[in-house]
């Protein structure tokens, strides 16, 4: 991507955002009736669906059951038409398996699994359109879906990505900014306590700048939290109205 200016002299990014600005987030809870919990999120052009089943009895081999807590089972898949070039398999490839594992780690840190021993919670995430920040969109969608299912959590999990260009940290990278190949940081935060549920950084970045990038990602995650909180409250309000109370 030679010649493409990711950050102009005036401080604007390729899509016209400021360095710390998020893309437009729209979300909805309770998309599907048959699942225990479901949610849909749009972050710019990245669109993800999350569905939660459980807590229910362990499916398949009983040996997997944990005596003291619930098993969190995650599957990440991305639609074959979600990326610019068509994908051959929606799930089962290396990237999807890794994403599934990361999601599992993130949600094991957030869900109060000790309340449901010997049971299983399934979280299935489906990316419909990928335009950068798929991990973040998946975590945010899954948080809403887990909340919709009424599964107790320590806190929301809010995720956001961040990058570093010309001495400035950029929040919520789009596909163009990711493809440029600079350092990239994915962060999942429990906003109330400020605890980090997942942290991953690709490529190289000078240690002195890490603080700045981490703070940009954390601030963006807190902004995401404000928005998700609004969505949840709106959803609950509508639900109580429809109950006629």
């Amino acid at each position: 991507m030679a010649g493409l200016e990711l950050l102009s002299d005036q401080g604007y990014r390729v899509d016209g955002r400021r360095a710390g600005e998020l893309r437009k987030i729209q979300a909805r809870m309770g998309v599907f009736a048959q699942a225990d919990g479901s949610a849909y999120i749009e972050q710019g052009n990245t669109k993800a669906l999350a569905v939660v089943y459980g807590p229910h009895e362990i499916r398949g081999s009983r040996a997997r059951a944990l005596p003291d807590r619930a098993l969190v089972n995650c599957q990440y898949s991305s639609a074959t038409f979600s990326t610019g070039e068509r994908k051959r398999r929606p799930h089962g490839d290396r990237k999807s398996c890794e994403m599934g594992l990361q999601l599992r780690q993130t949600f094991e840190a957030a869900i109060l699994t000790q309340l449901h021993p010997r049971s299983q919670i399934d979280i299935y995430v489906q990316v419909l359109q990928a335009d950068g920040g798929t991990y973040a969109a998946c975590v945010n969608a899954a948080t809403l879906a887990v909340l919709d299912a009424g599964i107790p959590m320590r806190d929301f999990v809010c995720a956001c990505s961040a990058g570093f260009v010309d001495g400035t940290a950029l929040a919520d990278l789009s596909h163009v900014e990711e493809a440029a190949g600079g350092p990239q940081l994915a962060l999942a935060l429990l906003p109330a306590s400020g605890q980090i549920a997942l942290l991953e950084m690709d490529s190289r970045l000078h240690e002195d700048h890490l603080d700045q990038v981490l703070e940009a990602a954390a601030q963006a995650a807190r902004d995401v939290h404000t928005l998700l909180d609004r969505v949840v409250r709106q959803h609950v309000r509508e639900a109580t109205i429809s109950l006629g109370d």
Binding site: R28, R86, D122, Y124, L128
Partner: protein, 291 residues
């Protein structure tokens, strides 16, 4: 396949209702549930559509890519179908659990499009024997509420209607080497005629009668069903019996007559929805999954 378990009493209730032409949700035997159709929902595809039929939720994306024509049909493009039964629909589909059903549906789609009149494949040819458009029709099953085949075929038709393929020109220089030039104008594209694209009408035999658009509960009461693909003119392009039971020849002819009648109405209403949506143009408020 996603299914529900019913008790004997529940089954008797459904079967008796069907005999009286009054189904559990108040429909008659030849009525569809209300169908929601929206096109152009995924912006990085050539065409896409989402169809919601009761609790059945289908998303179809069509991507046009350049490929080489098949040897036996050097001046035609072709369609590739792929059905992903995602774990969103039911946890049984996790991992490779949905592959069997996905392959079955994809093979049915290949079969209903396996004739010359469904889609004008010649218009997909760019350069005989060398280049053609391959339309990858990818179906994503998001929720399963009965009558998958009909919902998928409606979604495929809507997505093909929405598909826009960029116009390309083949330039030939003196030495005979060919060059493909893409049109500069993003709105300069070719569209497929979907007039003859068939839709599937599935008829479930319940007791002595047959119903269209069965719900999961009704599917559990039915031993066998007939899958008929009909075009808007009432031409049958493919037929298949599915299910573990058996059907007598008389009822098969009866069911075919019903499917032709129902199919024509279905095509008419689908066409009118698609044209209405198109007439709104880019001003249309996109709902997608947020509505």
């Amino acid at each position: 396949m996603a299914s529900v378990t019913l008790s004997e009493a529940e089954k008797v209730y459904i079967v008796h209702g069907v005999q009286e032409d009054l189904r559990v949700d108040g429909r008659g035997c030849e009525d569809y549930r209300s169908v929601e159709v929206e096109t152009d929902v995924v912006s990085n595809t050539s065409g896409s559509a989402r169809v919601k039929l009761g609790h059945t939720d289908i998303l179809v994306g069509v991507k046009a890519e350049m490929g080489t024509p098949k040897l036996e049909k050097p001046n035609e493009g072709y369609l590739e179908f792929f059905v992903d039964c995602s774990a969103n629909a039911t946890p049984e589909f996790e991992g490779r659990g949905g592959d069997d059903l996905g392959t079955e549906i994809a093979n049915t789609l290949y079969r209903i499009f396996n004739n010359k009149c469904s889609v004008d494949l010649k218009s997909l040819c760019i350069n005989p024997r060398e280049h053609c458009w391959v339309l990858y029709v990818d179906v994503l099953l998001l929720e399963c509420g009965g009558n998958l085949f009909d919902a998928i075929s409606i979604a495929v038709k809507a997505a093909l209607f929405n598909t826009r393929i960029p116009r390309v020109r083949v330039l030939e220089d003196e030495e005979g080497s060919k060059d493909i030039e893409l049109s500069d104008d993003p709105y300069d594209c070719i569209r497929l005629s979907v007039e003859n694209v068939p839709c599937i009408v599935t008829l479930c035999k319940i007791g002595y009668r047959h119903v269209v658009d069965a719900t999961l509960q009704e599917e559990a009461c039915s031993l066998a069903s007939l899958l008929v693909s009909v075009t808007s003119k009432g031409v049958v392009t493919c037929m298949r019996k599915v299910g573990k039971g058996s059907l007598d020849p008389e009822s098969i002819f009866e069911m075919m007559e019903t499917s032709k009648r129902v199919g024509k109405v279905l095509h008419n209403s689908l066409q009118s929805i698609l044209h209405k949506e198109e007439s709104l143009g880019p001003k249309r408020q996109k709902v997608g999954f947020l509505g």
